[in-house]
């Protein structure tokens, strides 16, 4: 009955309660939507950036990430690839070899990072093929072919159909030299990539660089980055069995990870402020309602209710109020996130900046239990803690003084 009494007490001042509920519901709705939106944009940002070149994770020889020398190799990747692809989370694993070379066209020459890739599998990992602006992507039957970034092609004055000379150091230390035909030119929108990156068929690359079937990395992809993140322990174990290391998305793109962390920190400050403001407003309302009922509490004490019982009743009131308020907010926030999750959110004139960060022009909020519940839970938790203030006031009441108040 104390619970029922607490519940009814909330509705004594229907207008006041409605206002409190609106405040809490609005704040919770905002938190649910904003977290879903923000994390949703991180999701697309990560996926987009990783899908340009890296993949959702990579297996590399130890030390390759920090010092990518062509001599650091996985000798025979076929077993590794088969094991990786046997995981349900991994849809494709594709081997690559990388060389830092000089590309030359007549008088002009520029440093570039050339990757030997499997043209068939790579289509499922990188978006290079879909970002081809002139010519065509690499094909399975290509041999002495190359696709390169738009800025790199421009610097070298190369067009589709032109030939380019490649000069580098082979795995055995000899000079690796080749002449390749430009079949396609891509634009990712990310300056460093468009200025430095070129792809050629893996087999030709291994011949040119005398690699004898070895590769420098195996990139993997799954349906969802989250799946791959969840599979990390198993991916690590597989890599270890092949004397290699597993690199997760954050290790592949530390700058993106940092940017997200920074953005999350500033956003958390804002969310935290919102939560605290709401909690104080609710606390103030409840404290007033406790003050107003001093006489009544005196009577309850007189009939034998213990101060602690009245205190708990008041505490329950604040918790009920916050459960209802945040509950409404969660429903509304989920509704908003669901709607915009379908139609997406666009920001006029921001596309340029967005694409630098790998963001698509439309951002889709995405809900997870954490994103939906984090904000409202914080409100409820803080309100429950703040409830100690009215609780303590009730504990201090003396029946006679209270009744005469």
């Amino acid at each position: 009955m104390i619970a029922s009494l607490a519940w009814r007490n909330i509705w004594r001042q229907p207008t006041r309660t409605a206002l409190s509920l609106t405040g809490m519901a609005f704040a919770s709705m905002l938190l649910v939507f904003m977290l879903s939106f923000q994390f949703g944009s991180y999701d697309s940002m990560k996926a987009n950036i990783l899908r340009i070149i890296d993949g959702f994770g990579q297996v590399q020889p130890p030390g390759y990430k920090d010092d990518p020398e062509i001599t650091k190799v996985i000798r025979d990747p076929s077993g590794l690839i088969a094991e990786l692809e046997s995981l349900p989370q991994v849809t494709t694993a594709s081997a690559r070899a990388n060389g830092y070379v000089l590309l030359a066209n007549g008088e002009r020459s520029f440093a570039a990072a050339v990757a030997g890739v499997d043209p068939v599998k790579e289509v499922r990992i990188t978006r290079i093929a879909s970002l081809i602006k002139q010519g065509r992507p690499l094909r399975a039957d290509d041999d002495a072919a190359i696709v390169l970034g738009e800025a790199l092609a421009r610097n070298l004055r190369l067009k589709v159909g032109d030939r380019v000379t490649l000069l580098g150091t082979a795995m055995d230390g000899s000079v690796a030299a080749d002449v390749l035909k430009v079949v396609g030119i891509f634009r990712t929108g990310i300056t460093e990539i468009d200025r430095q990156i070129a792809h050629m068929p893996l087999d030709r690359f291994r011949e040119t660089f005398v690699m004898d079937g070895a590769v420098n990395e195996v990139a993997i992809i799954g349906r969802d980055l989250r799946d791959i993140i969840n599979a990390e322990p198993r991916l690590r174990a597989i890599a270890a069995r092949h004397d290699a290391v597993y690199l997760n998305w954050g290790q592949l793109q530390p700058a993106v990870k940092q940017a997200i962390t920074l953005d999350m920190t500033t956003a958390s400050l804002m969310y935290g402020t919102l939560v605290i403001v709401v909690v104080f407003i609710i606390l103030n309302t409840l404290y007033m309602s406790v003050l107003e009922r001093t006489r009544e509490f005196g009577v309850l004490l007189a009939v034998g209710m213990k101060p602690g019982q009245i205190g708990r009743m008041v505490w329950m009131e604040i918790i009920f109020l916050s459960l209802v308020g945040t509950g409404i907010g969660i429903v509304l926030g989920m509704g908003l996130a669901w709607y915009f999750g379908r139609v997406g959110v666009t920001f006029e004139g921001m596309q340029q900046i967005f694409s630098q960060w790998g963001l698509p022009p439309r951002i889709y909020p995405r809900m997870t239990p954490f994103r939906v519940l984090a904000g409202p839970s914080a409100i409820i938790l803080l309100i429950a803690i703040a409830g100690i203030i009215p609780y303590r006031r009730v504990l201090g009441l003396e029946p006679v003084k209270a009744m005469n108040a």
């Binding site: 009955m1 004594r12 009544e296 309850l300 009939v303 209710m305």
Partner: protein, 230 residues
Amino acid sequence: MMTEPIVSCRGVNKIFGSGELQVHALRDVDLDIMPGDFATLAGPSGSGKTTLLNMVGALDTPTSGEVVIDGQSLRGMGKSELSDLRLNKVGFVFQAYNLVPVLSARENIEFVLELHGMPSAERRDRAREILREVGLEGLENRRPAQLSGGQQQRVAVARALVARPSIVLADEPTANLDSKTTEELVQLMYRLNREFGTTFVIGTHDPRVMEHSKRHIELLDGRIASDERS
């Protein structure tokens, strides 16, 4: 055979405030309330009636002297223990506005029974029964605001009685009632006293209440000026 008093006050003094503003509300009060008493406590305004009732009902503690309720001394008791003592031994009826506004008549009564830990079905029956006893049959589900002053006071009497306390204390229970309603309420308390032997102490100015009393205590300036049985 000697019967033990339900409440006994020995050398009770109550001083409010300090220094210039000090008020000596009760002076060396010795009083025994006996089982079955139907006592009225009268005296001019400010003579200490409310203060004394509060002592007798464990709502407040004396500055000096001792109050013993049903063999238990209030000395050294904490807030929670005093609450328990009131819950188990004392019923209160105040001047007005002493029901919980969001609870119905029946729930106001059940509420006290719940504090006693009585199971819900039993609570409900007991509350119905006592409401019938005080003549409120059919009004069980009304909230206090939907009841007249006299009806509210009947609910208050029912609530005070329902847990079968050793003593019921009423402080000016008729102050806000017209004479017909006053008469009915006094009759009710008087009947309960006769039929069930419930002990009542009623603080009042009202001659219509005093008419029925079997014991009349007069306070003057915080002292007991007279204490007569009739």
